[in-house]
């Protein structure tokens, strides 16, 4: 059979197609900058846990030009690792974060989780733990005890985490402590109620941040020296508030202070006036423990009705709030802080580096979003991650079976001030698993929290009431 010749019509079609292709290619080349340069598409994919950044560049070259009827596409993949430090490998070590992402402590949850994830990112970029990558698993407590305990179980039983850090909520801490023991998992609570590492703790619970007894004890001498002798205490009516009231009443008389009256106010009280009306006339100073809105309500009405009262409070009161917006109501107050929020008040090279890594500005806000962080608490999450790294490397952690060894090495561990322990030197006391550290007395000047003095860690040490080291695993 003879081959059929292409008809004239077909030939015309081919010719028109070729011309159209040429025109399109020509215009494309012209748009790309030069009619001779081929257009390049570069796709960058960043893979790998944390920062052992493997950048994959896919370069697609399209060779085309005016009058060229053939299009050639070449794809070239270049993979290069851009950071120093070995890439962690093997099965990941899983760290659970019991975070208060929503509910009353949501501001803490956001800040804590940000700082912890930056720490994990840093660890992964620097070889992980024992060369293994670290994986962060976050569960939200909704700042509720019932949800917190079920999320604690979920982290351990479902997500199979090796260690649990958090929450910030003392009630959740205390409720989760027995679960840690039951499921043989190390628990690093971040809340501050005294009982968490006293009557309500156990061998599986280690607190690397400070508690209310430490805080009150550390600050009391200066409070009486700088603020007042005759006091009234006003606290939020739940465990954390009571703890503050009890400790203040315990230590004030030892340093020549007198507590005239103690007033408890329910959480979220709409109007502080009836409570302020109860403050005795002869009181000189007020020690209070509230946070967020309660604190704001209190200081405004206090300023109107009793501007003569000198204020002293733990950092928890103005935490997460830009004090420069508070005006006269908070001016002159003394605040006991666990970590100054302004870089200028604690300008160490470690603090600078820490803030750079975490993206925190000089006022303690997240640089990217301008959100006020809860830095006086969130430092503990940063240090928790590096404390675990050091302890796990010391015992050559293999699996969760090594938890008893991990706890033993953490008991009596001490830390020098460093990038990883940016808050300052500290040590974990073996018997009650409580860490001791320095505190910072701050004074509100023009709305800024200015450092008055650093209170050395010795001031915060109290007599332990429990001995967990006698408890078997």
């Amino acid at each position: 059979m003879a081959e059929s010749e292409p008809s004239r019509r077909t030939a015309l079609k081919v010719a028109v197609a070729a011309v159209v292709c040429g025109v399109i290619a020509g215009v494309g080349g012209w748009i790309a900058g030069s009619s001779m340069a081929p257009p390049r598409t570069i796709t960058k994919t960043v893979t790998g846990p944390g920062v052992a950044k493997t950048i994959t560049e896919t370069v697609t070259k399209t060779v085309a030009g005016p009058g060229v009827t053939k299009t050639v596409t070449e794809t070239e993949t270049v993979t290069k690792t851009v950071t120093a430090g070995p890439k962690p490998s093997g099965p990941p070590i899983r760290i659970g974060h019991l975070a208060d992402m929503t509910g009353a402590l949501a501001v803490y949850g956001y800040s804590n989780n940000l700082i912890l994830s930056k720490a994990i990112e840093y660890i992964n970029a620097h070889g992980g733990i024992n060369g293994r990558p670290v994986e962060l698993v976050v569960e939200d407590t909704e700042t509720k005890v019932a949800t917190g305990t079920s999320k604690m179980r979920k982290l351990i039983e479902y997500h199979k985490v090796d260690v649990v850090i958090g929450s910030q909520h003392s009630g959740i801490n205390i409720a989760c402590n027995p679960i840690a023991k039951e499921l043989k998992t190390l628990h690093l609570p971040i809340g501050e109620a005294y009982a968490t590492t006293a009557q309500k703790g156990n061998r599986y619970v280690i607190r690397i941040n400070n508690n209310v007894r430490e805080q009150v004890k550390a600050g009391i001498e200066d409070a009486i020296k700088y603020v007042a002798k005759k006091w009234v205490t006003m606290v939020v009516d739940y465990a954390w508030g009571w703890s503050n009231e009890e400790e203040f009443r315990r230590y004030a008389p030892q340093y020549g202070g007198e507590v005239l009256k103690s007033i408890r106010v329910p959480l979220g009280t709409k109007d502080f006036m009836p409570y302020i009306a109860q403050i005795p006339k002869e009181a000189e100073g007020i020690f209070y423990a509230f946070f967020f809105g309660d604190f704001l309500s209190l200081i405004r009405d206090l300023h109107a009705v009793r501007p003569d009262l000198k204020q002293y409070c733990p950092i928890c009161a103005p935490e997460g709030i830009d004090t420069e917006t508070l005006g006269e109501a908070f001016e002159g107050a003394y605040v006991l802080s666990w970590f100054p929020r302004y870089l200028s008040e604690y300008d160490t090279p470690f603090n600078r580096k820490f803030r750079e890594i975490c993206g925190i500005d000089e006022k303690g806000k997240e640089a990217k979003t301008g959100k006020m962080l809860t830095l006086s608490h969130s430092w503990a999450l940063w240090e928790a991650a590096f404390t675990l790294k050091r302890a796990m490397e010391e015992i050559d952690w293999k699996s969760k079976e090594d938890t008893p060894k991990l706890i033993e090495v953490l008991e009596d561990m001490s830390f020098k001030e460093s990038l990883f322990h940016v808050q300052g030197e500290k040590f974990i006391r073996d018997v009650d698993h409580q860490a001791f550290m320095r505190h910072f007395l701050m004074h509100v000047e023009n709305g800024k929290l200015k450092l008055v003095k650093i209170i050395p860690l010795e001031k915060s040490i109290y007599k332990p009431e429990v001995d967990y080291t006698k408890e078997s695993f």
Binding site: T102, G103, A104, A106, V107, D237, R264, V265, P266, G268, T269, K270, D271, M273, P274, Y275, A277, Q278, P280, K281, F292, G293, D294, L296, S297, R300, D301, A304, V305, R306, P307, G320
Partner: protein
């Protein structure tokens, strides 16, 4: 005078003044609740959340413009509109069946709260002081904005009275409350009256929220506390009785406030409940219940 007695008197004046100021704010919210129940038999569980949104919108208004009145007007205008939409969109089918309205308004309340959580956020905000002076009277210092708030509330209550008793819409509302069928038969558009009343109730709640916002913290769950108090007042006053609501507010709030001199404020709330129970024992339909 004995200094002990003088100090007690000082405190007494402080808490009594405070009680009356709260009575005026709570009366606004409770009157809205009472109007809505009296006319449509809607037990509005979402009323506290309308109050909350009043505060939230006022906060936005003040934060954006720096003017307190802009906040108040914004809160009332928006919540009035929301009131009409809610009445038409969600409550119309269940009006007159109180049990159903409870379920529907609980749902509305949750939606209002969650929308506030998603937009306004979960942390409490403090409204800048619209009237930052301190008034000193008989040796008692008192924040000026609270007195200012009391003045505005009183004006609003007078305005409400004029609206209900001196305008034709007010007459229609009262007529429909008294006898719905008859009012309808006389040519009153009950459907319109319902929408207007619900909007009015929502606006009163919003006004209460806006006025309370400099005193309390603006928070997406702030409605609960007030809702409980508003219900105590509406029940003590007699369901649906506007006069009763106002009188009850002026009794319950100062009583609760003065009680805080002797017991804690939490126990004072318990006393309010006991007072409500006592009133209901003697007068089961409340002080002015029909």
């Amino acid at each position: 005078m004995d200094p002990m007695i003088a100090e007690f008197l000082n405190r007494f004046i402080l808490v009594l003044t405070n009680g009356f100021i709260w009575a005026l704010i709570v009366a606004l919210v409770a009157l809205g609740l009472s109007l809505i129940f009296g006319l449509m038999e809607i037990v509005n569980i979402a009323h506290g959340d309308l109050y909350m949104w009043g505060a939230v919108l006022a906060w936005y208004g003040v934060t954006l413009t720096g003017n307190f009145w802009v906040g108040v007007i914004l809160a009332m205008a928006v919540m009035g509109g929301v009131g009409i939409v809610l009445e038409r969109g969600a409550l119309r089918p269940v009006e007159g069946i109180p049990a159903y309205t409870v379920v529907v308004t609980i749902g509305i309340g949750y939606i209002l709260q969650q929308v506030a959580l998603a937009t306004f956020g979960g942390s409490p905000q403090k409204m800048p002081d619209p009237f930052p002076i301190v008034i000193e009277f008989l040796g008692v210092r008192y924040p000026g904005y609270r007195v200012f708030v009391a003045g505005v509330s009183t004006l609003a209550l007078l305005g409400l009275w004029v609206f209900l008793f001196k305008t034709s819409i007010g007459l229609w509302i009262r007529a429909s409350m008294q006898d719905r069928e008859m009012a309808n038969a006389m040519g009153v558009s009950v459907s319109k009256v319902y929408a207007v009343t619900f909007a009015l109730g929502a606006m009163l709640a919003a006004l209460g929220g806006a006025l309370a916002s400099p005193i309390v913290q603006v928070f997406y769950l702030m409605g609960y506390d007030l809702l409980v108090l508003a219900f105590i007042i509406v029940i003590v006053g007699g369901l649906g009785s506007l006069k009763g609501t106002l009188v009850a507010a002026l009794i319950v709030c100062p009583l609760e406030s003065v009680m805080t001199l002797i017991v804690t404020p939490t126990e004072a709330r318990v006393i309010s409940f006991l007072f409500m129970a006592a009133v209901l024992l003697v007068k089961p339909k409340g002080l002015f219940g029909a």
